[in-house]
């Protein structure tokens, strides 16, 4: 298995606040890896640093063998990294189809074909294809955000809190889709607060506290770890 992402000694600071302290993590091809932690533990900061949205204070990020630490977000996207941002952030003033076009323009000619694949993955989006994204429900927007990220055929899909603010039924739907992707061999990095859902489909996980990794290992082992049970799985 080849290593897709390798992060060494990553630190992120906002002014005087150190949000991420010397974190190491790696993902191999085809793996689904979860980053768990409470609010403010540093999950989003790691995601933002990986995708080039914040400047790192220290450490190296290597993606598919290439050092991307100093690359801008659009370059990392071109290199094959795709982000489903926290809060979905679809292009509200564009139709569903236009959102997908935006996501897929890097894919060039394959856009029409990929759009069909996305509609097959999320049939709901096909029904709403001419609708403005702002008028979709939260769950539909999350589907769209995921589909938009998949449009360019990324080699790593990064999801930031995909379950945030969604109804339990919608969380199930979204996670079923993520599981589908995993089963088809997509490499996935998942930052998630609700540990139980994330651990149900991840292969491995990292547990963050105050910006540092306090626990890491196979998802099954983490699920049984008393520390995780106590804090995140409701005792």
């Amino acid at each position: 298995m080849t290593e897709i992402l390798s992060v060494r000694g990553l630190s992120v600071t906002y002014g005087k606040v150190q949000a991420v302290r010397s974190v190491d993590l790696h993902i191999t091809s085809g793996e689904t890896v979860a980053i768990l932690g409470a609010n403010g533990a540093g999950k989003s900061s790691i995601v933002r640093a990986l995708t080039g949205l914040v400047r790192v204070a220290g450490g190296d990020i290597s993606f598919q063998g290439q050092d991307v630490t100093r690359l801008s977000s659009d370059r990392r996207a071109a290199a094959g990294m795709a982000l489903v941002p926290e809060g979905r952030r679809v292009f509200g003033d564009m139709t569903v189809t236009e959102n997908l076009q935006m996501g897929g323009y890097l894919a060039g000619r394959a856009v029409a074909e990929r759009t069909e694949t996305m509609f097959a993955l999320f049939p709901r989006l096909r029904e709403r294809r001419t609708q403005l994204a702002a008028t979709l429900s939260g769950g539909e927007q999350q589907m769209l955000a995921i589909a938009r990220a998949l449009m360019r055929g990324p080699s790593l899909l990064v999801l930031d809190e995909p379950s945030l603010g969604l109804s339990p039924i919608m969380v199930q739907t979204i996670y079923r889709a993520i599981k589908d992707l995993r089963d088809k061999g997509m490499t996935i990095l998942l930052a998630e607060q609700s540990a139980s859902v994330a651990l149900s489909l991840a292969d491995r996980a990292y547990l963050l506290e105050a910006g540092s990794v306090v626990l890491e290992g196979p998802a099954r082992a983490l699920r049984d770890d008393p520390r995780v049970r106590e804090v995140y799985l409701g005792g």
Binding site: T51, G52, L53, S72, S73, D74, A77, A78, A82, L83, P85, R89, V90, F91, G92, D93, M94, E98, Q101, M102, G103, Y105, L106, R148, A149, R152
Partner: protein
């Protein structure tokens, strides 16, 4: 389609209207070019600029200087006018393009004032407060657009070209980027769009349209003066672009026609014209923030 027809109908104006009407028509046509250019920046890229008048002036002065001082044939001044406006707009505007909303607007007022002051004080080049007189009529391959009817048709042609060109831009992939960037910069960047480059390109396009409007303006009155390109013109252009609507080139063209011809009726207000425009801008933001066409559409649907 509707607009192709409308432009064709407007082309018959010389058969029914007198010189006065044709001059207003030419003025509206020229103005619409600057407004549509500004619309690419404000309506599509979401950057509000109060420097369009200055860039318009750069185009007009470049044209005036080239044809009077250097004897350049009129049409050859067009690419120069566009290039100069693009150069000034992007060189002075690019450092500010990263700034968020209000700060960007403030910096464009700065750009507007810098250009105006240069036009007034660099007398050696611009004629200073005297302006530049004696601009020959617009002529192409020996044919002079020297009557109000002829010039009106040339201006109308320019307006039509700029409008249909802008439509191409908006419908292109780059048009999609513009809307994406104004919607959500983070999502655009992570979708692979170079956000800053996209905004600078929008600024360049908008400046280019202003330059083209300035080119025609120089041949319209055949005289240029710094006060023609003051902050007032920028406010008027912005009002027209906002009134016309967010992401609606049709609306912008319509509002150029409505407000552009209205500026004649506002003449009795003299210096207070700007107050009237300010009022229209304020009302638009409050009542129809997405412009007249969107507001009219919403009204019709409610029925």
């Amino acid at each position: 389609m509707v607009w192709t027809l409308a432009f064709a109908v407007f082309a018959f104006l010389p058969m029914v209207g007198g010189d006065y009407l044709l001059q207003i028509g030419a003025f509206v046509a020229i103005q619409s070019i600057a407004v549509i250019g500004l619309g690419l920046l404000t309506g599509f890229a979401g950057r509000i600029s109060l420097a369009q008048g200055a860039l318009y002036g750069i185009g007009a002065y470049t044209t005036a200087i080239l044809v009077t001082e250097l004897g350049v044939p009129p049409l050859a001044a067009l690419p120069a006018a566009i290039a100069m406006a693009v150069l000034v707009g992007t060189v002075l505007g690019s450092p500010a393009i990263r700034l968020s909303g209000l700060y960007f607007v403030m910096s464009t007022i700065g750009l507007q004032q810098i250009v105006w002051i240069v036009l007034i004080h660099w007398s050696g080049l611009t004629g200073g407060p005297q302006g530049i007189r004696g601009i020959p009529p617009l002529s192409v391959a020996g044919f002079a657009f020297d009557s109000p009817a002829r010039f009106y048709l040339a201006a109308l042609f320019g307006s039509a070209v700029s409008f249909f060109l802008a439509r191409r831009v908006v419908a292109s992939r780059f048009g999609l980027f513009l809307r994406a960037v104004s919607d959500d910069e983070l999502s655009s960047a992570t979708a692979g769009v170079h956000v800053v480059r996209t905004k600078i390109l929008a600024l360049a396009l908008s400046s280019g349209w202003a330059g083209a409007a300035g080119f025609l303006h120089a041949f319209f009155l055949r005289f240029v003066h710094p006060d023609m390109f003051s902050l007032e013109l920028s406010v008027v252009d912005l009002t027209m672009a906002m009134f016309g609507g967010y992401r609606s080139l049709d609306g912008m063209l319509l509002s150029s026609i409505l407000l552009g011809s209205a500026s004649e009726y506002l003449r009795p207000f003299g210096q207070f014209r700007l107050v009237v425009y300010g009022f229209i801008l304020l009302l638009t933001m409050m009542v129809a923030p997405r412009g007249i066409l969107a507001a009219a559409g919403a009204l019709l649907r409610r029925r």
